[in-house]
Amino acid sequence: MQAFDYARPATTAEAVALLTRHGDQARILAGGTDFVVRLRHGIETPGVVVDIKGLTDLPADVTEGGGSVRIGATAVMADLCRHPVLRARFPALVEAMSVVGSIQIRNRATLAGNVCHASPAADTAPALLVHDARLVIAGTGGERRMPLSEFVLGPGRTALGTAEIVTAAELPVPARPLGTAFARMTRRRGVDLATISVCCSVDADGVTRLGCGAAAPVPFLVTDISGILADVNAPGPARDVALDRLIAQARPISDVRASREYRLAMLRVLSRRALLAAAQRLAASQNGKARTGGADRGDRA
């Protein structure tokens, strides 16, 4: 790959200053699992690479306070998957992170990096959307926050300015009990990119949220407040109608991984399964005892 200069600032302010000075010529390096591939293929040809792994003033990997859980920008997914706070509060996000690549990838890849790379198929996006994740962004003007749903603008495009860094992701701690589930479709059982991915949450009021990945140019979130999707006893056809209405805004493409038609069909199948799993988990947490687990074949319409 082409040569570049390398900087490893110690503070966020230094990093922002570097990005400001070099503007378009600078790129941020965190885990590198997407970025180094782009460097190798000549898609990125920066003059300066700013390595943020040396920043001493970033939030620690996982901190909780003020009703939110904050995940530091340089925390690697392997560590996040093991973290007890994330496992307890956001199990679907942990499920999603644990299928991002292999262990070798997860030992380097960061959650913030996955978000900033902004692939329509980003495995973590559906769960982050369902949990109303925000990005904490540092720039010359100080710190600002932005919901994920507004941050990702298109395939590979975010609202991050040239002299800005994501310093953390923040997830509000769920106010009421939630059942969540993550599901995705891949071409093989082994490590793969998602053909379709969904994350579902169901709360005690029956509010159902579905985060969808690889189903549109940007991952999207849809919400149903009618309660019918959360009600496992509601008649199948009525639930199907509600589900179809919910995912009507999906606009997947046909590419080397899958056709549009298959993606739409799998979105439906996976959503149904994730809904069921989420509802069961909610019931289990409310009853304090485990139900018989697993998606029952008979429930597949």
Partner: protein, 160 residues
């Protein structure tokens, strides 16, 4: 092009190098340190042939810049054994017939070594999961899993 001076430990030995920032760790290990055991295949972090251990974690060295490991400990396949003897894992791979063409093997053995350090008594499922980032086209997976279980002191499953 500016170069950067890095100091790191490779297989227990302190090393000082001056490298361009763009040089992947994989290339620097192979070309500057003559540690050619670690292999290059896909160069995009999909095949695991380039796996090394950095500060106790298995990573794809093709996706790391050498400058990122300044101050770190790197272990390659050459560093697994001790005093001219193979490691238990390496011996298990040999004993179990897990080696065919051998090109994936350095990455596999390094990954497997790391796996056992994190999880000393893995199930076959955990071994498969832990090695899912290492491709073997010769298809030696079942024997590789058996070798890892043997190295862990587990009885191999009958059906594998």
């Amino acid at each position: 092009m500016t170069t950067t001076r890095i100091e790191l430990t490779v297989n227990g030995t302190a090393v000082t190098l001056t490298v361009g920032a763009h040089r992947p760790l994989l290339e620097v290990l192979r070309d500057e340190l003559n540690l050619t055991g670690t292999k290059e295949c896909c160069a995009v972090g999909e095949c695991g042939a380039c796996t090394v251990i950095v500060d106790g974690r298995p990573v794809n060295s093709c996706l790391m810049l050498a400058v990122e490991v300044s101050g770190r400990h790197v272990t390659t396949v050459e560093g697994l054994g001790c005093a001219g003897r193979m490691s238990r894992m390496q011996q298990a791979f040999l004993d179990r017939g897990a080696v065919q063409c051998g090109f994936c093997i350095p990455g596999m053995v390094v990954s497997a070594t790391s796996l056992l350090e994190a999880e000393p008594h893995p199930s076959a499922e955990q071994v498969r999961e832990g090695l899912s980032g290492n491709l073997c086209r010769c298809g030696g997976y079942n024997r590789i899993v058996a070798a890892v279980l043997a190295a862990a002191g587990e009885a191999p499953e009958e059906t594998r």
